[in-house]
Point group: C2
Chain length 506, copies 2
Amino acid sequence: MKLKVKKLFMDAGDLYVVVLNSKTLKKYALHPLDRIDIIKGKSRLTCIINVGDKIVKENEIGVYLEVYKKMKLRDGESVEIELQEQPKSLMYIREKIQGKTLDYKKIYEIVKDTVNRDLTESEISAFLTALEIHKITMEENEYLSRAMIETGNKINWGKKRIFDKHSLGGIPGKKESLLIVPIVAAAGLTIPKTSSRAVSSASGTADTMESIANVEFTLDEIKRIVKKHGGCIVWGGSVDLSPADDIFIQVEHPLEIDPMFLPSIMSKKKSVGSTDVVIDIPMGREAKVKTISSAHTLAREFIELGRRLSMRVRCAITYGEQPIGHAIGPALEAREALETLMGNGPNSLIQKAIGLSSIIFDMAGKKKPMKLAEYILKSGKAEKKFREIVGAQGGDPKLKPKDIHIGEKKFDVISKKSGTVFWIRNFQLTELARTLGAPKDKGAGIYLYKKKGYKVKKGEKLFTMFSESEAKLDNALEKLKKMEPVVVRERISQEIIMDVIKEVKR
Amino acid sequence: MKLKVKKLFMDAGDLYVVVLNSKTLKKYALHPLDRIDIIKGKSRLTCIINVGDKIVKENEIGVYLEVYKKMKLRDGESVEIELQEQPKSLMYIREKIQGKTLDYKKIYEIVKDTVNRDLTESEISAFLTALEIHKITMEENEYLSRAMIETGNKINWGKKRIFDKHSLGGIPGKKESLLIVPIVAAAGLTIPKTSSRAVSSASGTADTMESIANVEFTLDEIKRIVKKHGGCIVWGGSVDLSPADDIFIQVEHPLEIDPMFLPSIMSKKKSVGSTDVVIDIPMGREAKVKTISSAHTLAREFIELGRRLSMRVRCAITYGEQPIGHAIGPALEAREALETLMGNGPNSLIQKAIGLSSIIFDMAGKKKPMKLAEYILKSGKAEKKFREIVGAQGGDPKLKPKDIHIGEKKFDVISKKSGTVFWIRNFQLTELARTLGAPKDKGAGIYLYKKKGYKVKKGEKLFTMFSESEAKLDNALEKLKKMEPVVVRERISQEIIMDVIKEVKR
């Protein structure tokens, strides 16, 4: 059947929606929410049907903007429509629910149909939930990685060695990539850093960078920037490197599951053409990785998966008991990173940036890697490189820290007693920052004055909350009533009994 | 914040969608696909945000028809909008993913948020997948049933005994409810039969009945029909009896999972006020229940869940190796049921209707229950009662079988050899009927001339396929190439080797 395209000026997030007249539905025995394929030349797109009799006539098909763009349609042209059958991959999802191990062909089919939007969110969710419950084998990790790489774009840099770095989540305030990329690039190495946006944290590296420069580029633009400056800090999702990963993350996020942990990271690294990767594994009681032994196990898995995908991987286990630096939230973190590059930053951030950069230098065969990293940061070479990259990504290369816009609604949280900071609750800080609007609202976040071991006087500020919306600040204040993100104790040594767990009342 | 309602003449299936201007989004730091609550007086509805700058102005909120109706909005009125936080029930879904057993409070929360559409399909899918994998305990069966009953409407019939009947799926052509309801009601008993639409079959009882009468009524209308005529055959989903069940089924269907098997059935029965229920468990190699022992286990579970919900339950294990009667698909089945009530029907359908009715009569304390059921059917009393009910449900009480519209595109499938029908493949018949358009296209389906043990001559018709669309008939013919739904063998006794399973080629 053929229908006439009518462009609708509507946007449904990332879903492909078309609107048909109810007479058209009746004629072709279709129903709302059914899936149909639109065909134009060699391209084909699966769309979800909505109904709107006042919007389109019987022989028309109203298309949302995503469909219009994706299919390069013109208003008024004719397109072919085909009924969509159940994708084969649904059968393999059912097998995974039943606990079967999937081979490469089946995994590829699921990943391909995810990327092509032939599977609904609900079907993808069933797949991810089943993976989460049944766990995945190293073979499945490899197959998932390969399928995710295969169904996306890939950058080929020729024979060059390409360096990369990735930090596992869980620690608020991880802005060190904004230092590591310029340090490594300033040493003449290539580091095309593609980052994710925040999944469950207050700011992903892409969110942070986005508060001072663009992070969405085409593959060609990224190549041009990296060839010229040696590095970039961009969002991986905009260039369809392992696009399945971005879709999986969207579904996993509200469920707080993460079965694709390894393939998610490694497929991105491989797609961008990295040959040498440092994985930072922050360890701490509220980090993703809680014990030294699980950090070691995970490191071995990263190295093995890297081997299977022909990448050299080195892992660093880092201190993850509290935020890196003081700032949490995109704009606040970008400001702190810039200040640190300009020579005025917190020690924890400097140490982490230098430490991880030196591992990359060591992999690259540089002499005295630690000294080299320190020199590049302290001499201002890293700042210069950073400003180059910011400029290349459409930001202001002369940016001053105070130019970075922070949310104007704010609230200072005061210590009710004098003493020492005994404990920082990362989860609570993250939850507060997210309630304040981070990462979507760039200016939202938390500035933490007092970290572990700091002396505090009664009435002193522990941290300040920033938001762009009064309502969100109110929500955060409401949540804070039941929280204690910064725990102050009068005399730590005396408090041997740290907490008491009471019996459940029945 | 307050926004002005603009009615959009669009329909998104069962999703609640609103359209905002991108300036509104910016202003309130919202994003496409975020959820917001619309508040009007005491009602509140969670909606998904789409963006459309040419559709609505900055202070307007475009509402889809479902939202407009559900909230009883008027064009141009002001409504209050609130940011929607993550529902608490998501935490309990995560617990279920981790394999924890949920108590009543948590299950209630999940079911409530499902009904209120506070959980997305993807979140509901994760819950159902986790239930499917971890299995549910009898306690959870009870809690799910109670929560599903609690979050929907309930009919209270006073102290009266209310009879009911339910058949498990898997067998094509199960139209016996169209006979059992009038037989039972004609004996003076009350049987308010609410049925589902097809989940994975070619026609649910509601679909079948809908081809000759209305099946969507309000609770008051159902009560009035049943009080006057003793019975009804209506769709359960239209009256919000256990509405969670309808949502769960929608999500389960493409995944072919059914973790809520028992609560799904029992919550519907309890909500409608039934006190005495017969559960028909068809058993066969291609039925839902495959062995006599699993049928017995399931029967015990139904009886136990019934006890916990204060219902008397009796189970009948029935022959489920092939279709009941000859017709598969809504209109074809309705026609066969009517013919049978008029004295001209297949033996398998007559036996099943009489058999299950007699169990209800026995529970009601009637003498010679089998004789009574047979008498009511053969004397024409059941037909009279059926016509009363059809009339009460807005159908034509004088309906003749030939008045029932069957799809006009048809194809006869001919036997390529002479012999005896050795085997019927239920799954293939169902898949064919669904490909032909059933159950959504009422006239689509299959009429099966030759059942197990029938003699067939080469060139004789095995079955006829009916469709309302040429494209769907073509699809079915394409599928049929790889199928053999009716298996004819020349001499059954000689074919000891029924099938050969070959090694996999590597």
